[in-house]
């Protein structure tokens, strides 16, 4: 199945892009999408314990299931205001 991965702020800088398409084996979770991405780009791993995650623009957990066509976002600690 195919998912869209979105990266923001420094994660986007580290990856060199804010949006990627990735094939992942089903059944998938946010965690399995992340592990594949971090294997591909080890520099991202520094954020594993401080980032937030979202599926289809809703906050979720690493254990949240991911389906074909979903939008999976990885978010560094926020600094708005």
């Amino acid at each position: 199945m195919r998912v869209t991965v979105r990266l923001f702020a420094r994660l986007r800088d580290l990856a060199g892009t804010g949006e990627l398409q990735r094939e992942v084996p089903a059944p998938a979770t946010v965690s399995s999408v992340w592990q594949a991405l971090a294997d591909e780009m080890p520099a991202l791993r520094a954020y594993e314990h401080t980032m937030s995650v979202a599926v289809n623009a809703d906050y979720c957990r690493m254990t949240t299931p991911v389906h074909d066509g979903d939008d999976v976002a990885f978010l560094p600690p926020v600094s708005g205001g």
Binding site: S52, Y59, G81
Partner: protein
């Protein structure tokens, strides 16, 4: 609730929040500005990035929390994104309520929660380099964080 690249207009937001009622006895507002100094660095400008659909949802969630905590209060909030020069407003918040205690508290609560859970990031450009600022790990379900914001809001 809005996230946009357009310059912020406090008067316009105030008019929107206070329209259609004469029940308000108090209106408070907060504007966050781009400061020239941060952690000893001389700031040149800030570039704000947002995950816009989730940022709007997070702002809506904060407003719902305000309605629960201060049922008589109403709030509006606009956050700007893109490049902001020194002195420009990055966020404006307006809170209106029949009494000042609720208006002050709701306004303070919104800015504290924005800093906790809204997916927006500052990319600081300073003399000699640039850095992504990173604050809180956003978790809207973190009750301890929400209660901390509520305590700060109530002084």
């Amino acid at each position: 609730m809005a996230v946009s690249a357009a310059p912020l207009d406090l008067a316009e937001l105030t008019a929107a929040v206070t329209a259609d009622t004469t029940a308000d006895g108090a209106v408070t507002s907060f504007a966050g500005l781009v400061r020239q100094e941060n952690q000893g660095r001389r700031v040149s400008y800030l570039d704000y990035e947002a995950y816009e659909p989730l940022a709007v949802r997070a702002l809506e969630r904060i407003c719902a929390e305000v309605r629960t905590a201060w049922p008589a209060a109403r709030v509006g909030v606009h956050h700007r994104i893109g490049r902001l020069e020194l002195g420009e407003a990055s966020i404006v918040i307006v809170a209106a309520a029949p009494h000042r205690a609720d208006a002050f508290a709701a306004c303070r609560y919104v800015i504290e929660r924005v800093k906790q859970i809204v997916p927006i990031w500052k990319h600081e450009h300073f003399e000699g380099g640039d850095v992504w600022l990173e604050g809180n790990t956003a978790d809207p379900d973190d009750e301890a964080a929400r209660l901390a914001a509520h305590r700060i809001a109530c002084g």
